[in-house]
């Protein structure tokens, strides 16, 4: 049964009543603060968790192919036995025609040592053409432009790699590959210099620190892959459902290739992130539960102070259920106000987390966020309506459960004893 007007009135007045009137105002304020802080923490944590995942996945997808078909070792027309696609353009066209695929391109992959200005660094080489640069929308040229890269025989360096080697646009880097020219004495290391024509960022520290991009034809020559490609890379319209494309691609390329997706590459991390999400949600839910305990103590105190009032209410015709509802309304109102305040504060905080982190970073002399450890450059937050509703709903449900016991206790009071105690 829904509460009556009298029950709403009494609950409201008791909630606001001063301590001298035996009311619950101080206890209610403490309960509201407790619930609000717990919900605030839950909302902010869920927002940061969602933001971190979105940022991680977004930058991962923006700088890397969503799905890759790598060639298995095969007999090549020139007699070599290599893991390479013998007819990369035809295979690329097959992949590009698959449903859901938005772009596809052949790629030559390799690992090299870079040397410049007395500095050395290892680099992961992606030999790609303009199809990759336009397909991977997360790659942003911060110096130079991609059109020049496509026309040149230069290289594009990740920003952190360029920073490490202390090179800028137009500077030369020496590239050392162990897989060089074949001679009568065997394969000799290849050492060549290239100009830096683009410095880019992929939005991720690991990409910026280790990636070198080389025009596809140049990479074919550099890595002894003339007319060949190591991989066919592609992007899809909906990366979250990339598995559907995975099976279609396997059918399309036949037994010559092996397929892996961005989920395979980052699967361990994503699973760990999901596990961490669940654990954090449980821990913070316990925090909300603990905060709800303040409602219990507040209501127990109120029920004790209001014994005579309960006695009078019972004598003037208020049923046990009515007394129960009065105390439930008080507990639920406390929980709901706390939950809404906490959710509001949490949303506000998450919305301005950049400013908060910037301040924190300044206050800790740049120690608040280390991109080399976190992978992404900023602590992102993404406010999901579902997360906010979950937090508020959880707090309200726990407040209702917490209120039930003291409310039942008040409703069961014997009016005669209650009045006697109140005299």
């Amino acid at each position: 049964m829904l509460p009556t007007r009298l029950e709403w009135l009494l609950a409201g007045r008791m909630l606001r009543a001063k301590r001298s009137e035996g009311g619950a105002s101080i206890a209610a304020i403490v309960s509201i603060i407790g619930v609000a802080l717990a919900v605030f923490a839950l909302v902010v944590t869920l927002a940061v968790r969602a933001g971190f995942r979105a940022e991680f996945v977004g930058t991962l997808l923006g700088a890397n192919p969503h799905i890759t078909a790598a060639a298995l070792e095969t007999d090549l027309p020139d007699g070599r036995w290599l893991p390479a696609w013998a007819d990369p353009e035809a295979t690329t066209a097959t992949v590009a025609a698959l449903p859901g695929v938005t772009a596809a391109w052949p790629a030559v992959r390799g690992a090299v040592m870079l040397q410049a200005n007395g500095q050395m660094a290892g680099a992961d080489v992606h030999g790609v053409d303009t199809r990759a640069v336009t397909g991977l929308d997360g790659l942003e040229a911060i110096a130079g432009d991609w059109a020049a890269f496509a026309r040149s025989e230069g290289v594009a360096l990740g920003s952190k790699l360029a920073e490490h080697l202390n090179v800028g646009l137009g500077d030369s880097v020496r590239i050392v590959s162990p897989d060089g020219a074949r001679t009568a004495f065997g394969v000799t290391p290849r050492v060549e210099s290239r100009d830096v024509v683009v410095i880019f960022t992929g939005g991720r520290y690991d990409v910026d620190r280790a990636r070198l991009m080389m025009p596809y034809p140049d990479a074919q020559v550099f890595f002894n892959r003339e007319g060949l490609a190591d991989e066919i890379q592609a992007t899809v319209a909906d990366p979250e459902t990339v598995e559907a494309t995975q099976w279609a691609m396997l059918d399309a390329v036949g037994s010559q290739g092996r397929i892996w997706t961005w989920k395979d590459a980052a699967g361990g991390f994503l699973r760990a992130l999901k596990m961490e999400d669940r654990v954090m949600t449980v821990i913070l839910s316990v925090l909300v539960l603990v905060a709800s305990m303040a409602i219990v103590s507040g209501l127990v105190m109120l029920a004790r102070n209001k014994r005579a009032a309960v006695g009078i209410l019972r004598t003037v015709g208020v049923q046990r259920a009515g007394v129960l509802r009065i105390f439930l309304i008080i507990g639920l109102t406390t929980g709901t106000i706390g939950a809404l305040l906490g959710a509001g504060g949490g949303v506000l905080f998450a919305h301005h987390i950049d400013a908060v982190m910037a301040w924190l970073d300044g206050a800790t002399d740049g120690g608040a966020w280390d991109a080399s450890v976190r992978g992404v450059y900023a602590l992102p937050a993404r406010i999901l309506v579902g997360d906010v509703l979950f937090s508020v709903g959880l707090a309200i449900v726990l407040a209702a459960l917490a209120s039930l016991l003291p409310a039942l206790s008040a409703a069961r009071l014997n009016p005669v004893e209650a009045l006697r105690d109140g005299e």
Binding site: R13, A17, E21, V316, V318, L419
Partner: protein, 228 residues
């Protein structure tokens, strides 16, 4: 005994469990209270006066015997029906006013009506008239903390009369007041009860107040004797 009274007790016993042997409080009480009758109940402390009033007010049940309220056997009434009857047909005035501190004087007097779901203007007008008759209308918007002892008790009387009950149970209603205030409150209660036609069972130690009643009953060692 005819069952046309507001309240009838037939051979009512009441005892409370206690380690060893139950403590008997009331023994074979027979009484009948007619509509509009005002009866003073006098008793020394511990004689069972409050217990009798609690049973009469459907707040407690007898160990043995029958209690009829408005002709109905209260043993046949469930908890909800008893609470409803208590709210609508019985008014209580205690030694202590027991007003709710969060509500104004008028709101306190309105409580039984609101508990019965009566939020209309008619009930409000009735309570306003009662407050006027009891001389506290000018204090209607004040909280109990701002009222004098006599004023609080008058508001409690207004609350007891708000639903025009058939029975008013008053347990030492002037016990916490000085003589002048107590007499004034009792005069107001009796006058208001006569207007509404309510029967009044009034427990008091004060012979002057008992003298205002139509009849005097005395309770001693759990037994009731009627002395008109």
């Amino acid at each position: 005994m005819a069952n046309d009274g507001v309240l009838m007790f037939e051979g009512v016993d009441k005892s409370y469990p206690s380690p060893g042997k139950p403590v008997a409080v009331l023994h074979g009480i027979d009484l009948s209270l007619s509509p509009g009758q005002i009866v003073a109940l006098t008793a020394p402390s511990g004689a069972g006066k409050s217990t009798l009033l609690h049973i009469a007010g459907l707040l407690d049940t007898p160990t043995r015997g029958r209690v009829l309220f408005e002709g109905k056997d209260t043993a046949q009434m469930g908890e909800q029906a008893r609470t409803q009857a208590r709210g609508r047909r019985i008014g209580f005035v205690y030694q202590f006013h027991h007003l709710l501190p969060e509500l104004s004087a008028r709101e306190n007097a309105m409580l039984p009506l609101w508990a019965a779901g009566q939020h209309g203007a008619q009930g409000g007008a009735r309570v306003d008239a009662l407050l006027e008759r009891l001389g506290v209308a000018h204090r209607a918007s004040h909280r109990p903390a701002a009222l004098s002892g006599g004023e609080r008790q008058r508001v409690a009387v207004a609350r007891a009369l708000a639903t025009a009950p058939s029975l008013i149970l008053a347990d030492e209603p002037t016990g916490s007041l000085d003589v002048q205030s107590g007499t004034a409150v009792m005069e107001a209660l009796i006058e208001a009860a006569r207007t509404t036609g309510s029967a009044v069972l009034l427990a008091t130690h004060n012979p002057d107040i008992a003298a205002m009643a139509d009849a005097r009953w005395s309770l001693a060692a759990g037994r009731l004797s009627i002395a008109t």
